[in-house]
């Protein structure tokens, strides 16, 4: 037992205490097992990895266990049949027409199947590990209670290990049937632990101390908005090659950290956020990013990064459709009562004459800052209103061959507009605009339209 903790503790830095707790709780195979163990903690804290490794070791000892996922098992039948298959050592094969060990549609079938299976096994402990256990809450009101009391119900030595990112408070069934389980908490890794783990990613031909200094710097920059270990590893893996590049080009020595950081600066400034948000995929990054070297000007690097990130989201719509989308945005966010002020073309003004904010009052925070339409989200509007705005904001008369209705339909298909009225209604159709302000600004720029002049109470 002690050497198991030792072995796993070496594999998972910083998780020794949790491993010890788990090993103690689960005990030896022939001893009474705890009814239910609840492993919880934020994501990327090693819950699944540790539990899987532990049960891998148990599997080598010959303990029967089933590892299932709450997401994969979207019906209770899948969950139960997989568990029984694993316990019985049954593998569905083509010869057996991929049949399962036993058919379990309901909890009764499962409990009876488990009882029958385990009766001849002499009290040896059997385990169920459920990953993403929070999904089990959707599989019927009594499933969790039944699992938590499986030992009692099946009269066998069974332990259920639940893994989740959510605390047990959110699991407790309404009728209170599940006793509180033994809880094992996996906290976020501390800085030292993060460094110890990422140190294992250190490329074989790089000096580890040099690598860790870099990781340390990345951690200091990012831990304020993200403490997720996986995100940090992602960033380190993508940014480190850029950081050491000047060393191989003999433009800087490994000891010159400030200089290296200076050379790497454009990447940190422009790319890290986009990489973090996956606006640039790692594949793109590896293939297309500019080679980091002192020879490349920082402006070029920034430009290249911008180009990479923007290539994807430029909405390539036809000219009039862009105006339609802008009109939809305005109809969604501007109050109806101000339409006349913003969009009406009086007889005294020619087409494209004075309009917009100079006449509109547009007081900031007139409605109270908290409930501005910008914060509340798009409002449903009648298609007719959108069309009126469309014909008002478009400078030249629209060619009659342009079929506006088809364009509206295709915007709905693209999910840029969403229909707010019933789908079978032909008149009085209402829509919402699903596009954000940034995208609308980009589209407006592409058709040389100043959208900001028409926006009421935006900041």
């Amino acid at each position: 037992m002690a050497d198991l903790v030792e072995r796993l503790g070496q594999r998972f830095p910083g998780r020794r205490e949790q491993i010890e707790q788990l090993v103690e709780l689960l005990g030896a195979a022939d001893e009474p097992a705890p009814g239910c163990v609840f492993v919880y903690g934020p994501s990327a804290t090693g819950k699944t990895a540790v539990v899987r490794a532990l049960f891998g070791e148990y599997g080598r000892e010959g303990r029967r266990h089933a590892v299932v996922s709450g997401v994969e098992c979207f019906t209770v039948r899948l969950l139960f049949e997989r568990v029984l298959n694993a316990w019985a050592g049954h593998v569905p094969t083509a010869a057996g027409r991929y049949g399962n060990y036993a058919r379990c549609d309901t909890v009764v079938d499962f409990v009876n199947g488990a009882r029958a299976l385990l009766q001849g096994r002499g009290g040896e402990a059997h385990y169920i590990v459920v990953d993403q256990a929070e999904r089990l809450r959707d599989r019927g009101a009594t499933l969790l209670a039944a699992l938590a009391r499986l030992r009692e119900l099946a009269g066998a030595n069974v332990a259920v290990v639940l893994l989740s990112t959510v605390v047990w408070d959110k699991f407790r069934p309404r009728h209170g049937g599940a006793p509180d389980p033994h809880a094992v908490f996996f906290p976020y890794y501390s800085k030292e632990q993060v460094l110890a783990i990422i140190a294992r990613d250190c490329p074989a031909d790089e000096p580890e101390r040099f690598f860790l200094t870099f990781v340390d710097a990345v951690y200091e920059v990012f831990h304020r908005n993200c403490v997720d270990l996986n995100e940090l590893r992602h960033l380190v893996a993508l940014l480190y090659p850029k950081f050491v590049q000047p060393v191989y080009e003999r433009q800087a020595a490994r000891s010159e950290f400030p200089r290296l950081f200076k050379l790497c600066q454009p990447y940190f400034a422009a790319a890290s956020e986009r990489l973090y948000l996956r606006e640039i995929s790692s594949g793109e990054w590896l293939k297309h990013s500019a080679v980091a070297s002192a020879a490349t000007a920082p402006e070029d690097v920034t430009l290249a990064i911008h180009r990479m990130a923007d290539a994807g989201d430029a909405l390539d719509l036809p000219y009039y459709t862009k105006f339609l989308l802008i009109a939809a945005f305005l109809a969604s966010y501007n109050p109806t009562r101000l339409d006349a002020q913003y969009f009406a073309r009086g007889p005294q003004q020619g087409a494209g004459g004075r309009r917009g904010r100079r006449r509109g009052p547009a007081p900031k925070d007139a409605t109270g800052g908290g409930s501005r339409q910008q914060l509340l989200g798009p409002r449903a509007f009648a298609i007719e209103r959108m069309l009126a705005i469309f014909y008002s904001i478009i400078a030249e008369p629209v060619d009659s061959s342009v079929d506006v209705q088809i364009q509206i339909a295709s915007l709905i298909t693209l999910r840029l507009l969403s229909r707010a009225s019933a789908g079978d209604r032909l008149d009085g159709v209402k829509c919402k605009c699903n596009v954000g302000l940034e995208t609308i600004r980009a589209i407006s720029r592409s058709v040389r339209f100043e959208v900001d002049r028409f926006l009421y109470d935006f900041s």
Partner: protein, 477 residues
């Protein structure tokens, strides 16, 4: 405390024995197995503290059925973890000692256990009753008829084929009785109570439930056939009785467990020592004051018992104290203790929205609040050091981490909120990301959410952090 007395009595006899330090592997194994079995609920605690009355009542009722051929029905009521199952289990043990046979088939009576968690329909229950009564006949054509007919047919099969003798008595134990009562038409309960009352067959029906108002769930025709006998199981009334339960579960009996008497005495002395020590005793008192939950109490000792080894065969106080400390730590605060600064700022922003009077808000409002605060204090911040306003997508990603942890949950629309409070309710998945709730057509930035923390909890959370700028700290106050 009868158990202790008998134990110390046994120890006195063995006083002449040399107290050997080393304990054999086999002894430690057996101790570990016995005590863990009790802690995990595999075996009953040897002494049911304060439950003698209910045990006697249930045992008498079962005896009347098995020995006297009476039909009986009763409900065992008591809060969760108060020992209802233990009471019935002990009564059944006593019954078995008197009337049991070598095998289940040879016994003079049958026991059928049903649970509201498992038997969610009356059909499933019926099928399982047949299985538990060891009936192997194919019942498919019987089960199509009415429930009562099928049930009497199944009971009829119990009759010994040779004689025209009376049917053997059957004891029905109905766990989670309130859930069984929620089956449509309650035909299972009706049939059981009807047979128990009309004396066709000697059966005893014992229902277990934590719902005190369970009688209101029964239909009139079911209620009228029930004997209205209720046996109440109360949680331990005093702290001493509560501690005694733990002692009874942890102590080993030299006679029963094949343990050397001297070792048993040392072991039990250590148990007393641990139960009396300050942090453990205080935590037990807290559990007693809050919930009187016996299972929570026993859970504390599992790590210490599991760690017993031949070279360290007594419970280690340090391990018990560590598990007490873990048990006392609030789970939600633990999870939140090390979220990133940005996530913390969003939580504080939500709190100030709540204090501003809005009960529902979306990400845009939260971000707006965050941005307003940050830009107002930008001057002070830039003097203080590295703190910047994060862009909206970065903040959204942090916000989604909070959603994943269910610190932030989608707010129900005002109409369904009242419904959800009344009954049913949406208990399941956090639907903000899945986008299946009503209003999911709205982009996710605009979906209304609620913070699942009290303002006081946020203040505690911030107070516990050491690594945050003063400006944020002041914002949270």
């Amino acid at each position: 405390m009868p158990v202790r007395k008998s134990l110390s009595g046994a120890a006195d006899e063995a006083v002449s024995e040399a107290v050997s330090e080393a304990v054999s592997e086999a002894v430690v194994r057996s101790v570990r197995k016995t005590v863990l079995g009790r802690l995990h609920g595999h075996a009953a605690v040897p002494e049911l503290v304060g439950l003698e009355g209910p045990v006697a009542a249930v045992a008498a009722l079962l005896r009347q059925t098995v020995a006297g051929g009476e039909g009986n029905s009763a409900l065992v009521l008591g809060p969760r973890g108060s020992g209802k199952s233990a009471v019935v289990g002990r009564a059944l043990e006593m019954l078995e000692a008197q009337h049991g046979g070598e095998t289940a088939a040879a016994a003079a009576y049958h026991v059928v256990r049903l649970s509201g968690f498992v038997h969610t329909t009356d059909r499933a229950a019926l099928r399982d009753i047949a299985r538990q009564l060891l009936i192997t006949q194919d019942l498919e054509n019987v089960l199509v008829g009415s429930f009562a007919d099928a049930f009497t047919y199944i009971l009829g099969l119990l009759r010994a084929p040779s004689a025209e003798a009376a049917l053997p008595p059957v004891v029905f134990v109905l766990d989670e009785f309130d859930l069984l009562a929620q089956h449509p038409k309650q035909s299972l309960l009706y049939t059981l109570f009807d047979i128990a009352q009309s004396q066709q067959t000697p059966i005893a029906v014992v229902g277990l439930t934590a719902r005190i108002d369970v009688m209101d769930l029964l239909e009139k025709r079911v209620k009228s056939r029930f004997s209205h006998r209720q046996i109440h199981v109360h949680p331990p009334p005093t702290l001493e009785a509560f501690v005694q339960i733990a002692r009874s579960a942890l102590c080993v009996d030299a006679a029963a467990a094949a343990v050397p008497a001297a070792f048993a005495r040392r072991f039990n002395a250590r148990v007393d020592e641990i139960l009396a020590a300050a942090p453990v005793a205080r935590h037990i008192e807290a559990i007693f004051d809050l919930a009187k939950d016996v299972r929570q109490l026993l859970r504390l000792f599992v790590p210490a018992v599991a760690a017993l080894r031949p070279d360290d065969p007594l419970l280690a106080p340090a391990r018990v104290q560590a598990s007490v400390a873990r048990d006392a730590a609030p789970a939600k605060a633990q999870v939140l203790a090390s979220i990133s600064l940005l996530e913390l700022c969003l939580v504080i922003a939500m709190r100030s929205l709540v204090q501003g009077g809005s009960s529902r808000y979306n990400f845009e409002m939260v971000y707006n609040e965050y941005k307003t605060f940050m830009s107002r204090h930008m001057v002070a911040v830039s003097a203080g050091g590295a703190m910047k306003i994060y862009k909206k997508p970065v903040a959204l990603k942090a916000f989604e981490t909070l959603v994943e942890l269910e610190i932030v949950r989608p707010a129900l629309p005002a109409s369904t909120a009242a419904e959800g409070a009344a009954g049913g309710g949406t208990h399941g998945r956090n639907d903000m990301l899945a986008g299946t709730v009503a209003g999911a057509r709205v982009p996710k930035e605009y979906r209304m959410v609620q913070l699942m923390l009290e303002p006081g909890q946020v203040a505690d959370l911030v107070a516990a952090r050491v690594d945050i700028p003063t400006i944020v700290r002041r914002w949270a106050q």
